[in-house]
């Protein structure tokens, strides 16, 4: 290695930089670590003060999250068979018996269906609208784009009451379809604007070449524009999913027994005799996983950046 390189930092500089990054990551990741750790604590450790950094890990939170239990009364004790599975044993150890599954699984499934469903629709409609705005002479285009953006200018919850009444009239209250439509509508402004930016960057020359090469306008869009917009579509999809996945206010207001998503459900997890913090933390931890996987799967599209084209400028 030459000592005159301007790009290669010294060993010491690397160490300092690494230390700074790790420190920063520690600070920002603290709440996340706290949630994950709490999920593996026993209920007593979870609320102990000062908080325990080192603790004996327990799966009680996860067992409680997925099960509903009842306290073992003295009368029951004699008639009990020995626990057959490890999770029954965990419940027994805390003096309860599992009587069935909890509603978390179903709430989680609602979140998956509503989150991914609305993301899919927001991307499909958003891409088509963005393409049209980018390529065609749309009458009053600027006004329409501003109108679409303006739906984002107020907090969505400001229109909660009218939407609630509308949904009740239409029978969409507490249905997956209703929530999918609602989140699609909220996300559409974001997806149209983001995707229009990405599609504007793709030179029209490629489509012209495809038209000459024997393709129709729609085929050119499908074969030439979409693959090049993949980066933009991936990042837009992540933004849409994160919004729909984390949305709390509408979910509290518009869903209950049937289509309730995980966010309003998690804080309401009550254990036997009070708030069950390890179960709440376990619910939050599991809730993080799908978005994480989705982001990791789409990461290669995000990192690839915008394709620099084979068009001579």
């Amino acid at each position: 290695m030459s000592g005159f390189s301007v790009t290669e930092p010294s060993q010491r500089q690397k160490w300092i930089a690494g230390l700074l990054v790790i420190t920063y990551a520690m600070v920002t990741l603290m709440p996340l670590l706290w949630i994950i750790a709490t999920g593996f604590k026993s209920p007593e450790d979870a609320i102990s003060y000062p908080p325990k950094v080192l603790f004996e890990p327990s799966l009680e939170g996860y067992v409680n999250l997925f099960s509903s239990r009842t306290r073992i009364t003295t009368g029951m004790q004699e008639s009990l068979q020995p626990a057959e599975t490890w999770y029954e044993q965990v419940a027994r150890d805390s003096g309860t018996i599992i009587v069935g599954p909890s509603r978390y699984g179903q709430r989680f499934l609602n979140s998956v269906v509503i989150g991914f469903g609305s993301t899919f629709l927001a991307i499909v409609f958003g891409t088509m609208a963005a393409y049209a705005f980018s390529r065609f002479k749309v009458p009053i285009k600027d006004d329409l784009l501003f109108f679409i953006l303006s739906t984002r200018m107020m907090p969505p919850i400001a229109v909660a009451i009218p939407i609630f009444l509308m949904f009740r009239q239409l029978g969409l209250n507490d249905t997956q379809l209703g929530m999918i439509l609602l989140y699609t509508a909220v996300n559409l402004s974001l997806s149209v604007w983001l995707l229009k930016g990405f599609i504007d960057e793709i030179p029209f020359e490629y489509e012209e070449a495809a038209l000459i090469d024997g393709y129709t306008r729609f085929q050119a869009f499908y074969k030439v524009v979409l693959p090049q917009a993949a980066t933009g579509i991936a990042s837009t999809a992540i933004f849409c999913l994160i919004f729909a996945w984390n949305e709390y206010a509408f979910a509290v207001l518009l869903t209950s027994g049937n289509a309730q998503t995980a966010p309003p459900f998690i804080p309401t997890i009550i254990g036997v005799g009070g708030q069950d913090w390890p179960a709440v933390a376990a619910g939050a931890t599991i809730f993080l996983i799908p978005v994480m996987i989705f982001t990791i799967l789409l990461r290669k599209h995000l990192l690839r950046g915008i394709t620099f084209g084979a068009v001579r400028k």
């Binding site: 129709t216 084979a310 400028k313």
Partner: protein, 330 residues
Amino acid sequence: MAEVSLRNISKSFGNQVALQNVDMTVPDGSFVVLLGPTGAGKTTTLRMVSGLDKPDSGQILINGQDVANQSPAQRNMAMVFQQYSLYPHLSVRHNLEFPLKSPMLRTPADEITRKVAEVAEVLQISHKLDNKATELSGGEMQRVSIGRALVRNPQIYLMDEPLSSLDAKLRSDLRIELKRIQASLGATMLYVTHDQIEAMTMATHVGVLDSGRVVQFAPPREIYENPVSIYAASRLGSPKINILPADLFPTAPQGASQIGLRPEHIRIGQGQETRVVRVEHLGDQTRLHLKLGNADLITLTDAHTTLAKGDTLSIAPLAPLYFDANGDRI
């Protein structure tokens, strides 16, 4: 293969007039070169024929049939774009296959493989077939772009300065290759360039464009020897035709204000006295830069001339072309 006629085509972009009443017929099997400086309307003409742009007025006929309502795909034309327009998300091979796989052509797989290999061979890009289109040099992109047209057998080939980014050797190779392909297929070709050597060597007809008008449409030799104006005369020939005030020579006819002299149309040894300003030895010939009164002119002489800067010699015009004050031929 087809005959293409442009009838009275006009096109404006905003206030900018691109084409004015362009009337031209590209005969079946001909190689028509459009010649003119930037902004003369060459590319616009190609885009009109391709269907990518629609004329404001006028008709385009392919084999006598009006194609106003046909999409670019339906017109079945291949086009080489000046800016290449290779699909950046595809490999070179897939770029070349793209038109063959279109719903218009639906070529069988083995024929696609054969054609792509054949064209890649001609264009010397066989070793780059599996590269991404974005991982090529400018010259390679341009060859892929030519290849994407040549894999097809369309009604007409449209080429917009297809050789502009190639080095001199490759350019002269491909000039011959393109001409050979066009001649052997009997293909109709509409070709845009501002390289006069391409025009002279490849064209069966040259259309000279000036600010959106066709000023002359004729075989290249005809334009070279018998141009309608100074503008047309200046498009062909290297070194360029000498344009001098007509009164420098006593032979000028009535009304002539300028005289055009091709460098090879100057007889040395008699006539007007000139001074040698510069001598350029090119190997096979020598260019003499002369001063006649206040006018500069260039002529050619044999390779082993002993003339040097400062010498004087007398010259006389040979087959001069006379132009009036507007630059039109008399």
